[in-house]
Amino acid sequence: MNKKYSAGIDIGSTCAKTIVLDKDGKVVYKDLRPTGYSSVDTAESIRHTIEEAFGKDSFHTVATGYGRISVPFADNKVTEISCHAKGAVRLFDKNDINVIDIGGQDTKLIVIENGVVSEFLMNDKCSAGTGRFLEVMANTLSVSPEELCAMAEKGNETRISSLCTVFAESEVINLIGKGTPREDIAYAVIDSIVEKVKTQSGKLRMNNGPLCLTGGLCDYGYVVKMLSKAFNKDVMTKPDARYAGAMGAALYAASQM
């Protein structure tokens, strides 16, 4: 095949991420946009953008994420588990790592040994402990997720007992009703996400490699700090970590060329 580039498109429930690699594996393009109402339209607009920049038919494309089936032009589809793993191995430049991916709709825990997935776990149907949970709670407190994190840092230890987003929201409303400071409620929200991830991790055997956070929450320093505290281990992350899935997909595309 004479395609010049490999593209990875990760259609998440909240955001669509794209990475384009050239033949040497260098990142030549990255893009993040809201998935919006129609993942098909979003995928089409991504295709349009990258074709404009790099030319038509110059890509081998792998789609991933929950919307991977909505990318009809992709040459292949690979699950977000495999893509996050492959992407994280490249981003963190380590072969034995443990990945926590907190996405919009689900939370994934992936154990990677010698560069390949050895075990993984995803949360169930419920959105507790996900980016969506954070968004819903921030909304209830009339702040942005970023502001919620900043507030939580100043909050006092407070707990939400319910793991379900809907029930937790009513708990938050109760706390508001009782006059609990917003900072304390924000603390409880982040604490609940971190606790949920920590509890889930008990079901698999993590290795001694670093613990890395990927997905939309990687920009939130406070979440990283609280995760490190819960796991008693420095959680690594980097701004590009939210592209881990797209990066993995692009690497799969490259390997299939």
């Binding site: 929950y66 690979v78 699950t79 977000e80 588990i81 495999s82 689900d106 390949v116 997935v117 050895s118 075990e119 993984f120 995803m122 169930d124 149907k125 079901k203 055997r205």
Partner: protein
């Protein structure tokens, strides 16, 4: 399709609701089964039965009832069919595998009851299952708390016999189950008006043993790396075997096994060479619950064995019929049935040994341990299952699902990722 409307009407079924059910089934059958390539020819029989699942067999049962035979509806593989057969009764499975019946069950049961129980109760109370209308008596058993209490609710509507399954496997428990079988035999004698004899029981033991051997032949063929039949097709065969006449069931399974053995000889496989082989374990898959198998087999893998009640637990282990008294035969029955490693037992190391043994026998690349939502017994046991398999170096994926289709995307992602992981 034959016209069964008159029969359904006479059975007092809710025809309008039943029509809605009948409308969705052909699509499901088409999507799950008829899209497969290169199916064994002998599957024609099961295709026909499933296409008229509420017609063909119910009509036969009604004919037999007219001759004075009694029909026993059962919920579980612990019920000793041999006793019923020996007393000229008929055993049939009951409905409970579709989301269609769940809302009806939720009308009287807590929402957090497993879908199998909710669907069974819904099928009975909603009058949309001919088997539930036909049976003269229902045989329940104490294999979980949900069923125990649901039987009390069902008992308001239908005559029930409850067998008390022991929860441990000490010698006194096996003795206790023998006594339960003896009590059950007395009740079945009352209902059928027939007298149990050693000869009749031995004959019935042979009939059911032959059915088990025939089913095992089909399963044994799946051990071949040259996979001659899909998991979906085998599952359908197993599901229908709960409803069919045991002699015909054995005959049909043997015919299928002949064809599968021929396929192995000729190198005919239903999957590509690099297809990952999956052993499925967990809660039963009642007809028409094909969701898990369908997702697995459209995600680059094939199901090669089911360690479940709708699988190996139904036919493994034969009953020793060398006894010369009813008491000896009851004990032989108890010993066979008590080898079943249902999660209702504590402790239950036998199930883990079975899973590991079967994974090796069937050359599985990985195990999917899937339980129905709100089945605490199987859900809790997942921890030991997963630890034991990891120790053996066998990849395992633990899942939980119900009858709704809404989680099929999430299931597919996990299963595809599991397959990708096995491919490395």
């Amino acid at each position: 399709m034959a016209d069964y409307v008159k029969m359904w009407k006479e059975l007092g079924m809710d025809l309008e609701a039943h029509d809605n059910l009948c409308q969705v089934l052909p699509t499901a059958v088409g999507d799950v089964f008829l899209t497969q390539e290169n199916r064994p020819k002998a599957m024609d029989f099961w295709d026909l039965v499933i296409s008229e699942v509420h017609g063909i067999r119910p009509a036969e049962l009604i004919e037999e009832q007219k001759k004075g035979r009694k029909v026993f509806g059962t919920f579980c593989v612990f019920v000793p069919d041999e006793i019923i057969i020996a007393l000229n009764g008929i055993v049939t499975g009951l409905c409970g595998g579709s989301q269609f019946w769940v809302p009806g069950g939720e009308a009287v049961l807590p929402k957090n009851t497993c879908p199998l129980i909710k669907a069974s109760v819904g099928a009975r109370l909603g009058k949309t299952c001919p088997f539930f209308r036909i049976a003269d008596v229902y045989v329940g058993e104490t294999t979980c708390d949900g069923k125990k209490k649901a039987y009390e609710i069902l008992g308001e509507d239908v005559p029930m016999i409850i067998m008390d399954v022991p929860q441990m496997k000490r010698p006194k428990d096996i003795k206790k189950w023998k006594d339960e079988i003896a009590d059950f035999a007395a009740k079945v004698e009352d209902i059928t008006g027939n007298k149990l004899t050693v000869e009749k029981l031995k004959e019935a033991i042979d009939i059911i043993n032959n059915k088990r051997k025939a089913m095992k032949r089909v399963y044994d063929a799946r051990k071949s790396l040259n996979l001659p039949i899909s998991g979906r097709d085998t599952l359908l065969m197993t599901q229908i075997s709960f409803f069919d006449d045991p002699v015909r069931c054995a005959e049909m399974c043997n015919k299928l096994a002949d064809e599968l053995e021929e396929r192995i000889k000729n190198g005919v496989s239903v999957v590509k060479e690099d297809t990952k082989r999956i052993l499925v374990t967990g809660t039963p898959l009642a007809v028409p619950n094909w969701k898990l198998h369908n997702i697995i087999e459209t995600s680059g893998a094939a199901v090669v064995c089911e360690e479940m009640c709708t699988g190996t637990r139904y036919f493994e282990n034969l009953v020793d019929n060398s006894g010369n008294t009813l008491d000896e035969l009851f004990m032989a029955l108890s010993e066979r049935y008590m080898k079943n490693n249902c999660a209702c037992f504590t402790p239950n190391p036998g199930r883990i040994e079975d899973i590991i043994r079967l994974a090796k026998e069937y050359k599985a690349d990985g195990v999917i341990d899937c339980s129905l939502k709100f089945c605490g017994l199987y859900d809790i046991e997942k921890k030991h299952v997963s630890e034991a398999l990891k120790k053996e170096g066998i990849p395992v994926l633990s899942l939980e699902t119900d009858y709704e289709d809404s989680d099929s995307g999430q299931l597919r992602t996990r299963i595809e990722a599991f397959v990708e992981m096995m491919k490395g």
